[in-house]
């Protein structure tokens, strides 16, 4: 089965945008629901990706791993380890105010990146881990790409339904209350500490899943891929553009921003060849300016949060 070029690009685009949407949903649980400013998305992304990479590649590399496990085991372990890291971070940072939490999380994420780069026995260092298997690769042609798109779509749907249910549940209500007024939530007898940790860990687990999907999609991970810029920052722009607090908004923001990012790639290809090496910077500039425009003109995003009505209304 061979798809024409444009269609095959669309499949690639939708798969990658879908993975970004998973991250945007994870961040929405942390920031949109609960108001926790995590600037370390790339730490959980990397942990999910590397865990799955180490568990599912074939043996024989110079680094730890090559266990040849199936992808589903890799994803599950990535989710678990990412959640575990979040518990550890959460226990330390749970009481920090927004700005301090942002500084602390970006610091932790940078340490994770330093460790990935330098602990070569675990991660193969700067050379990265190649040959991460894609399921059904033996079918050849475009079939594996389509199957992978279906896997990402299923994962995205699952995450979406789960956290949308949680949002309408009492749990989601407490998270919103916590975001708006911590003192009042405490006065209402809620265990603020527990609810904070829960949303932080749930969001991180979802990011771990996204990281695993990313690793299998690209079949290669290296520390370079977890530049805070193309991971944490872009996911944040997606969430803010789409509308934080709104799950549909988070997904819409992911697709919209990724479309702009990909589209800008086509535009910069039209530039003269000597300017193309700097095209990456131009695209970053574009995203940065886009963010300022959104913040100034539509700070609530394309689809602002709709607070669910309580049953008694």
């Amino acid at each position: 089965m061979e798809l024409p070029g444009l269609l095959s690009f669309l499949v690639f685009f939708a798969t990658f945008a879908g993975i970004y949407a998973v991250f945007a949903l994870g961040l929405n649980v942390q920031w949109g629901f609960s108001g926790q400013f995590n600037l370390g998305v790339h730490a959980f992304w990397a942990v999910g990706a590397y865990t799955s990479a180490i568990l599912t590649t074939d043996p024989g590399g110079a680094h730890l791993g090559g266990f040849g496990l199936p992808m589903i085991a890799g994803l599950a372990a990535g989710i678990l380890l990412s959640a575990l890291l979040a518990v550890l971070i959460g226990l330390v940072t749970v009481n920090l105010r927004t700005d301090y939490l942002a500084i602390a999380t970006i610091g932790i994420a940078e340490i994770v990146r330093l460790a990935l780069k330098n602990e070569a026995s675990l991660t193969n260092g700067v050379r990265g881990i190649p040959g991460i298997p894609k399921p059904f690769a033996e079918l050849g042609g475009d079939a594996p790409a389509l199957i992978f798109l279906a896997i990402v779509a299923a994962a995205l749907a699952l995450v979406f339904l789960a956290i949308e249910t949680l949002r309408h549940a009492p749990w989601g209500r407490v998270q919103r209350a916590l975001r708006e007024d911590e003192a009042a939530t405490l006065a209402a007898g809620k265990n603020v500490f527990r609810f904070r940790i829960e949303s932080f860990v749930l969001g991180a687990a979802i990011m771990g899943l996204g990281g695993g999907l990313y690793a299998h999609f690209f079949a290669f991970v290296s520390p370079e891929a977890f530049d805070p810029l193309l991971t944490t920052f872009v996911v944040w722009v997606m969430l803010i553009a789409g509308g934080s607090g709104n799950n549909l908004g988070a997904v819409a923001g992911a697709f919209a921003v990724w479309a702009i990012w990909s589209g800008s790639g086509f535009l910069t290809e039209l530039l003269p060849i000597e300017l193309q090496t700097r095209a990456g910077s131009l695209r970053v500039l574009l995203i940065g300016v886009l963010l300022q425009i959104i913040l100034l003109n539509r700070p609530n995003g394309l689809l602002p949060e709709q607070t669910p009505r309580s049953a008694r209304d």
């Binding site: 700005d99 301090y100 602390a104 932790i108 330093l114 920052f233 944040w236 940065g288 300022q292 913040l295």
Partner: protein
């Protein structure tokens, strides 16, 4: 022993640079209530502007530094006028996020203009002096002298001028300062002048000490935040001491840690401080 002294020298040089950045971060945090994530890239901007004058045009280094300082201040004020000022009425977290975007805008513009490769101010290699077994580069003396002059000027400004006193009052308690009739917009503008100028100087000194790459400021941002938190947010004198402490701790860490983990030192200090004593070592907020 001589090793430790040598590391102390490096630590004080790095600490002075970090301190210059941390003063701005601390004052901005105290007055505008947000962590200014673009501060590192403002340092990079200052360093590259100095490179334009001193490196490309070949003008004398002090003149290039002075011009770069003024231009960086102009850029800081322009960013505040066009963007931050309009976001001030929203939640401070929007300002923080906006500054993260500004950081990327500054860095991508620098990368487009100068490319990703390393540049240096002066191709001549300066031979270090040896003083009692210690190696000291002439650049280190320049940096330390420059830092001392700037800190002294800052001290006079904060203590002797009305604006300086108003600035300390606002950083200490913005609401109280407002009700006593302080012209807050004027103080905010002066905070950008001080913060932007010191950031530019820190960037130029850092480029003089190491090498100039577009990620120069980004990599020093965490130590700068650490210094501001260590010294107590809103306390410029604390930020200076915090900067020296961070610089020395970072360099001394190489005695027992692989040097690749040097950047982690600042972060460990941040977390320890936030958990143990979030108001800073010297009473602040």
């Amino acid at each position: 022993m001589i090793d430790i002294l040598q590391l102390l020298v490096f630590g004080i040089v790095l600490g002075g640079i970090v301190a210059l950045g941390a003063v701005g971060v601390s004052l901005l945090f105290g007055i505008l209530r947000f962590a200014h994530f673009a501060h590192g890239d403002m340092m990079t901007l200052g360093a590259y502007l100095a490179f334009v004058f001193a490196g490309i045009l070949g003008w004398p280094l002090p003149l290039g530094f002075a011009l770069a300082l003024v231009l960086t201040i102009a850029v800081a004020l322009a960013i505040d006028r066009t963007i931050y000022r309009r976001l001030r009425r929203t939640a401070p977290v929007i300002l923080l996020f906006s500054s993260f975007g500004i950081a990327l805008i500054l860095r991508s513009v620098i990368e487009m203009a100068f490319g990703p490769d390393t540049v240096v101010y002066d191709t001549a290699i300066s031979t270090p002096w040896t003083v009692g077994g210690l190696r000291i580069k002439p650049d280190h003396v320049t940096i330390l002298a420059g830092t001392a002059v700037l800190v002294a000027a800052l001290h006079l400004f904060l203590r002797r001028t009305r604006t300086g006193k108003a600035m300390r009052a606002m950083a200490d308690d913005p609401d109280l300062a407002r009700v006593t009739g302080i012209d807050t917009e004027r103080v905010i503008a002066w905070t950008w002048i001080i913060g932007g100028g010191l950031a530019a100087a820190a960037g130029m000194f850092l480029a003089l000490d190491t090498r100039l790459v577009p990620t120069l400021g980004w990599h020093i941002l965490l130590p700068v935040f650490a210094a501001a938190i260590l010294g107590g947010i809103g306390n410029p004198y604390g930020a200076i001491l915090g900067g020296l402490a961070i610089g020395i701790a970072t360099e001394l860490s190489t005695l027992f840690l692989p040097p690749v983990y040097k950047p982690a030192v600042a972060f460990v200090i941040i977390v320890a401080m936030l958990v143990w004593r979030p108001t800073g070592l010297i009473a602040g907020r």
